[in-house]
Symmetry: C2
Subunit: 249 residues, 2 copies
DNA sequence: TGGCTCGTTGCATCCTCTGCAACGGCCATT
DNA sequence: AATGGCCGTTGCAGAGGATGCAACGAGCCA
């Protein structure tokens, strides 16, 4: 809506691909160098881009701080976290927490017992929306027209033979998930990984987040994983209760 | 430099404090509501702000993704990570990796063996710059006028009695660190936590990052921690070598 | 029902952003 | 050492877009 801001913000994803110099930025934006320079300077003043020693620009440190504060404002995460840790300590598998926002599903927390390293590596990354258990849970709660609109806009990458093939299958799956109140991803994203998930609801009953437990099939079979469903649902319900209780609004 | 972009970007830290509605944003920016609306819409289109159900705005999901990609482009981190993990598995204590950027020192990686939970919680957060071992290492490598300029601009919070008291003491400490090639923080931030750190250098000898090992004094005394100095320095040097070797530029 | 607040829209005015051209520093080439 | 090319930077005039105003409309409460 605002041309200048629009152009300036377009620089950010561009730099996310890797450092770029003034000329490259100007070319990608299709504007004059002097224009790109002014935009970059403004971004720089706000700490969103950083000028490295070779004069090329890359994303700046303030982005970390902002993302940090953004995630801290998500109170679901704060409430859920201890529950996720507790569940993880019980069953040992990876536990995820995700939210839906603006046509994207993203992980906002993760607890992994076996491989603590690079734990943050997936937080903030968009989820494979057509197959992930948490994505199904979050989308299943939307209204029917919304679900249809989204389902038709999506791509359906065939990660594995068990990936959701198309919009029709996805919508059907969402209906199932909506009715049963939990979801699975059995090898739909990676052949050897299974997930089960449950929704977290606010005081009004709307799904505000979703959690899942993932495990490689070499460790537990899909059937064995499904036996964990009750404890996963109990955890999700406990989070829901605590979240609803505290909600002041 | 660009008024419109400047105003738009000023909205981000404002929303970082917490959700705000249109009127509040307009007031804080000192612009007309319609102007604020257009700026917010533009930010919204780029996913940087999100409009929650009560119509108030808060920081959006794309910030995560951007910060995520930004951190992945820091190749020091990628190279260093396996070394940090290895060191951690040897000695068991928390290992940090930090860089200096634009008057700030921030952690970009962390390996913690005993408490894997919320591992990302400090990544991206500004370091206690006047006391942390990594901060001393990174600042010590700057030119003398730069060091002085920064030292005089800083605040010197007295986290503990052992915190760096003022600019003079800090500059003196930086000189020591610069000469000995390693740094410590012995209870300067938290009474019971000690750290030792070593610099990571690029091909040109400049310090590009710093790493540290932290441990509570109830587990190891400061003297015991110092016995780990050789292995910490060896790790840092190994990272430096690998980083310098691969650098194509 | 009426009045209030808050978000939204269309529009004329004026500001500010834009692109141009020229400068200067840096590097490589001869 | 001199030259040419490349890239970042600056000042400026013009034009295009951002701004604030005023009016509308939706939701809420009394």
């Amino acid at each position: 809506m605002s041309q200048t801001v629009d152009r300036a913000l377009s620089i950010l994803p561009l730099l996310a691909e890797g450092p770029a110099d003034l000329g490259q930025v100007a070319e990608r934006l299709d504007v004059h160098k002097s224009t790109a320079l002014r935009l970059l300077r403004t971004l720089h003043e706000h700490g969103l881009v950083y000028r490295q020693s070779d004069q090329r620009y890359r994303l700046g440190a303030r982005l970390f701080a902002l993302a940090q504060e953004a995630v801290e404002n998500l109170d679901v995460r704060e409430i859920a976290h201890p529950h996720l840790v507790e569940l993880n300590s019980k069953i040992g598998h990876t536990v995820h927490l995700a939210v839906y926002e603006e046509n994207e599903v993203l992980y906002i927390d993760k607890v992994e017992s076996r491989y603590p390293v690079r734990m943050y590596s997936r937080i903030g990354k968009p989820v494979a929306i057509t197959v992930a258990a948490v994505a199904k849970l979050l989308l299943a709660d939307l209204s029917e027209p919304e679900r249809r609109a989204i389902a038709e806009k999506l791509d359906y990458p065939q990660y594995t033979p068990r990936s959701t093939p198309d919009a029709a299958a996805f919508l059907k799956e969402l209906t199932v998930v909506r009715e049963q109140g939990w979801a699975t991803d059995l090898g739909g994203h990676e052949e050897s990984i299974n997930c089960i998930g449950a929704p977290i609801r606010g005081a009004d009953g709307r799904v505000v987040a979703a959690m899942s437990v993932s495990a490689p099939s070499v460790v537990v079979t899909a059937d064995e994983l499904l036996t964990l469903l009750p404890v996963v649902r109990r955890t999700a319900d406990a989070i829901s209760r605590e979240y609803s209780g505290n909600a002041p609004t």
